[in-house]
Symmetry: C2
Subunit: 184 residues, 2 copies
DNA sequence: GTCTATAGGGCGATAGAC
DNA sequence: GTCTATCGCCCTATAGAC
């Protein structure tokens, strides 16, 4: 057995989610999280640029999945291509509605966390724009299609976790996309 | 003459813009800004919740303008009503292209500032959604129309400050809105 | 205005993996 | 030997409390 327990990163993300739920984000110090995970505070900051980042550990793979799906898709109109990326990203969340809702509640309760989430969503929009451009879509169509698809994702996600509906996320996205088309 | 120089708030916002441009956001402390503005650090934090906030002093009136324009508008389809709000907000920026571009460059260079800007944009989307709902628009149409209009604003603003074009902001918004309609 | 806790970066030491 | 993860201590700026 090694000198340290394995999966320090996973232990830290789980500890953080627990502590934020128990006593709130602001009332939890980076030191508390590190302690519960069995590492030092300094190790925490080596894995995560700041305290908020520990809640967004999976976001990079989500964005990468969207990007790759767009690049691999058949030839489609810009908005449809952007939706392909969003749908691929949502696939990673499907089946984890409880966890997503739990996490969303923590983020909603703190403006600083909301801020960070918006940055991650903006990154999704930016990478989607870039992927569309790689597929030959010109500006401003690429940026507009990307922002619209991401707006669909946001609205659909909010409805999905709002508990009233039991539909899966893919269905929410499809319905919301149809609603947008009817609207503009 | 009073005990203190007037317009401490204005002096602080100007000092901050200067210092951020001269040496960057991170290399400027709240203390530096206060010093150049001729106030104490404590006074700075009395006016602004945190260091970033000093760059977003006008954003509240922008959002309020958008909201009031929507509530005062004649009866329109949801997306058109949302655009009325965006256009009203952009009126406040018209004629200050140089200043807007300068400020945008500072924000773009710092992820933390980008984060704050996204929060302000999200506030614009949220208030627009709420205004549309007040006008009788149901969900998810209200949220989708608001997000789409704000996306148009973001893309149009980016093109406006990108220097190549000399068109005014209202023209950029109109063209971008037309592009979105053609797209979805 | 003063005091203080927390965030978070710098640097060197240590101990395993290769 | 190099590379990488962890640790410990020092530091400053932020931002809230009194």
């Amino acid at each position: 057995m090694g000198r340290w327990e394995p999966d320090a990163r996973g232990r830290m993300t789980r500890a953080a989610l627990e502590l934020f739920a128990e006593r709130g984000f602001e009332q939890t110090t980076a030191c508390d999280i590190a302690e519960r995970a069995g590492v030092t505070e300094r190790t925490f900051f080596r894995h995560f640029a700041d305290k908020r980042e520990v809640l967004f550990d999976g976001s990079e793979s989500l964005v990468r999945t969207a990007r790759e799906a767009i690049l691999a898709a058949p030839d489609l109109p810009p908005f449809d291509a952007a939706l392909v990326g969003v749908v691929a990203a949502t696939d990673l969340l499907e089946g984890h509605r409880e966890h997503a809702a739990h996490r969303a509640r923590i983020i909603e309760a703190n403006p600083g966390l909301r801020e960070r989430e918006l940055l991650k969503i903006a990154a999704l929009a930016d990478l989607t724009t870039e992927a569309l451009r790689t597929r030959g879509v010109a500006e401003p169509a690429a940026a507009l299609a990307a922002h619209s698809a991401v707006a669909v994702f946001q609205v659909a996600f909010a409805r999905w976790v709002a508990e009233e509906q039991r539909a899966d996320l893919a269905t929410c996205v499809a319905e919301t996309a149809a609603a947008l088309r009817a609207l503009v």
